[in-house]
Symmetry: D3
Subunit: 148 residues, 6 copies
């Protein structure tokens, strides 16, 4: 029979923890320019992506079934226009018994979905790509930094 | 001042609509084999990913700020192990005034985040990639099929 | 591999549908009398149970993974004190492609959990029992009435 | 015993409905000027207020216990700086069996709470005031326009 | 580009914090009397307002985008009929790194929206007004009491 | 006037707490055998019940109006086929100022509703029964074990 469980974190120490995640939305140059110019019909894409990413980070345990609830002390979502679309970085922090990778990854994923939604009428071939953990610290398993 | 708005869909016809989205989680071969064997500590990864994807599709308007609420008539989330990890396809359908791309894309994104969460203790360098729309039909703008 | 799916209701006709469910919380006579007298520390137990049941019915597709979202046109939750505790009946109605059994059953279940929560400091041996469908109508499979 | 119930709307006709609501956040001139200049520590107050108002409108039946779920076809939240703070107007539309007053009122209320939250470190004596329905149309009881 | 961020509270001390907020729903005398008499069609208005206010306080970080999640240890919502309608006071408490003003303000706002919803069929000219912080204590910036 | 309130837990000590709850879904032998064989149209019933129970435990304060929010450190939901249907046990743990009975009871209740939903097309006379607390420890009132 299928076994499915939350990990028991009750014996882990309460420590300060931080994670940073990254994602990218690839789109046509034309659309990227319209984001920069602020001329898309749904409005200020990057502002809405920030808000959506922050709100999603707070709801991570409602969205990802086996995640533990956490008192986030900070979430930062930073979208930046680049040559091929929008790059999103999100940092999450807590003082808790388990890490915040999923909060940072959920933040970047939902920020990308939000950009997609606001831009999709102009470009149906967009892609969200490269969602990954950039760095992580504060847990028992030591600090982690992704290879470049 | 920043303009942000939901598109008014009140004058669009109610039609049957369908969308299919795709995503992939790239991971080490070892971890992929442990998913297949069912030996990861959080349990049956693909079953939880299916459930998480379906539930997320239903909550899309809560997660993506400018999405319209929709009465989904069907959501299917299909994960498949491949050479480099897990590929996820999700199909969403409704009879409504607007399309279900965001529901299908949210389903695959959250299914990937769920896989990531259940596997992350074994592989911290995983990537979620290639999230995109495969096909779409039923709307005013005609059917769309992504180029291969 | 485990198959998990929402049923496709896209081809079912939109009809008016209704379901009635029942549940019971068994408790000591003393506690039942304190509910009647309104002297429990958390307050008016039956009023809170009604509100909790109605709100839960509306959130059924968020709580029960494979339920379809539905535009409920009516939910009624009726708690009644009896010899051995509190009996709850809930009626739900919609005009939709699928039935409202789960909405009625979720309403009575959450109303019972709410009563339990408000009373538990006074009686730790309570039981919730007999949760079942009393009647159902409006679907393709015809009307159903439970045997007494 | 306390009676609490959702109104049964199952026999009401499905019509196109619209409601507009208003609210105001009164604050010091200094703080209002800092919103205009964009120099408050939490960032672009009016953009976040728009997003929060739209998202809250969609969640009205989760927040207001006896509200019916509705497929909103449009929500618009418009904040404007004035002499004494920020005025918010929200318009909501649907095609349904019941009206959207509560959606419009929830949108303006949550937009105001969001402004309050983003500004509170700079002015603890703010007030939210004048929350009311400006106009309503599409229901059985006829159109309504508030007296000026 | 618009900057939007949650304040980082990770370096603030964990202290016991309390906030009290106030709001008022102004309505016709006739309607106020029907609330007192309990003869409105949706039922016991003040009981539902209490429950809605308490539940909304717990969901504040889901509703107000930049609010931190908090483990509330107490929420009290007290509605009182007065000459011109219903006055609501809400007290919220926690032991955390940040304050509970927004929880108390969200509680009174949603309690008012709930009253509005239950009464609106009888009086379309109601107003919610005077939403403000009455007192606050436990934070770095010292205690605050609103001027009368 | 009806008094309704959350208990103030602000003065209770933070201790490690645990609760275990039980419930049972009674169904026909035929349907129970189809769950075991995995031949029901919605798929792997017990896997979905586990996920639904875990997710519901985390959302207990959103579902049960007067429950305090809690940082759950572990939730385990274990369904087992028996002679007359499926028995569910759920264990919840936290380190907090109040207990986790409601989290464990909500987990078993929602796991049962999920089983009911997935099986209902095959058996409309199912019953959910015997929902109760099996054991509890860590609070001021001492450990509790239900009589067999």
């Amino acid at each position: 029979m299928s076994e499915i469980r939350m990990i028991d974190v009750g014996n882990k120490p309460v420590t300060r923890r931080r994670a940073v995640a990254y994602a990218h939305v690839a789109m046509s140059e034309d659309v990227r320019d319209r984001i920069r110019a602020g001329t898309l019909p749904k409005g200020d894409v990057l502002a809405v992506a920030r808000v959506a990413g922050i709100m999603a980070a707070k709801r991570t345990p409602d969205i990802v079934p086996l995640c533990h609830p956490l008192p986030l002390s900070r979430v930062d979502v930073t979208p930046e226009l680049d040559d091929s679309g929008v790059a999103i970085t999100a940092a999450a922090e807590t003082t808790a018994q388990t890490g915040v990778e999923m909060e940072a990854l959920t933040a970047v994923s939902v920020a990308c979905l939000t950009i997609y939604d606001m831009v999709k009428a102009a470009d149906r071939a967009m892609r969200i790509e490269g969602i990954r953990l950039l760095e992580k610290s504060g847990g028992r398993s030591g600090a982690y930094t992704a290879e470049p």
